[in-house]
Symmetry: none
Amino acid sequence: MNVIISNNSDKPLYLQIKEQIKEAILKGELQEGDLLPSVRAFANDIGVSVLTTRRVYDELEEEGFAVSRAGRGTFVAMGNPELLRDSKRRMVEEDLQKAIHSAKLFGIPKEELQQMMDILFEEEE
Amino acid sequence: MNVIISNNSDKPLYLQIKEQIKEAILKGELQEGDLLPSVRAFANDIGVSVLTTRRVYDELEEEGFAVSRAGRGTFVAMGNPELLRDSKRRMVEEDLQKAIHSAKLFGIPKEELQQMMDILFEEEE
Amino acid sequence: MNVIISNNSDKPLYLQIKEQIKEAILKGELQEGDLLPSVRAFANDIGVSVLTTRRVYDELEEEGFAVSRAGRGTFVAMGNPELLRDSKRRMVEEDLQKAIHSAKLFGIPKEELQQMMDILFEEEE
Amino acid sequence: MNVIISNNSDKPLYLQIKEQIKEAILKGELQEGDLLPSVRAFANDIGVSVLTTRRVYDELEEEGFAVSRAGRGTFVAMGNPELLRDSKRRMVEEDLQKAIHSAKLFGIPKEELQQMMDILFEEEE
DNA sequence: GTGGTCTAGACCACC
DNA sequence: GTGGTCTAGACCACG
């Protein structure tokens, strides 16, 4: 797994890391039951404090994406695939909703919005 | 102008205020050249510290949405209307791009995305 | 608010503290909207690390018992009173269920269990 | 004897195993003097490390539930039957006391507590 | 002043 | 080896 950290981002480190792991799970790169790197190995790997990776794993566990077992390691949680699908859709819908909200506010018509989506969809590499 | 402050929001006060002023400008409620309330009056009005409104006006000026004239007050900047239109589009495009990025990541096809937009567009009150 | 910490307990410090705050809220000693002590003042007060009180407040927030506002402080959450009542009952039911489970396992009849409850209820000071 | 291990439990493996053996003794499934499986056979049987079963037997011996005879094996301790009866009662009383303590704290009256016990007693399958 | 994040150590229980 | 807790510092943004 590749995690990229930006010190210039306004997002805290632990959030950047957490989101990348969640994305990897949602994309299917990390499968249910997979062993995640140990907090120490991971911290060393990406150059952050152990406490920071601990926090990432703690929150992933709270959110149901991972399970930690003392003395064994941290694993990708066994989750109902439906939940994953929903989780993906919800992420997309959130951003979409924001865009639509602003568009309505500024009087951008639905047709123009659809056109923008078409263009942006092709542009994205 | 009505500014609504939520103490339950995760956004800092100064940002909530700034964004609502910017929205009012982009929506056309505040016209170019309009006089904004004084920092003191405004602070008193919405029940926040003078320092907070001071910061709002400072940042609005930095971003080119307002100009302060010593002894006269703070005014909505005289901006090229083109710039405003672009600014609106850019805001919408940013969120749209995020949604498209996630959708591609999770394998949600363009058709499904368009369908989601249709539904969300109608739902928005 | 009085918090008592035992270093001999098998429970981690942060849990001991968190549970006592939750109890104070459930008992009504702490009312909705009340300001909790700052993490630093609290840590100093009860003689633990700042990080430990931070963690307590973080988790109380996650569980919906408190809300933190940067620059202002941490407050007892405005919660629907129904939820509090349910929370109380659930705590009691959990322990009761354990007792009943063991009793059935060991063949202790319902009558004896009720008798035990009578006696223990009077004994409790 | 059937021992079921859950990887999803928050309890450590050795505790899960130990508690199930103690329950079997208290329930009478394991009689005084019965030979327990060897640490190696047992570890192999339930799929855990030998160290883990070793620890289980050590602690059972410390607590007086088992005795090890070098070269012979580990046996369920010859215990005074009174002690066993007391042990059962104590386990039940402990949980009952916690429930009563919380109930008093939150102002739940004795009648409501008894009602809860009635309901939970019937519900338990 | 407040909370939010982060570092660099440490000790413990579990496997 | 692993995760779980804790300490004693630090810097930043917010009000």
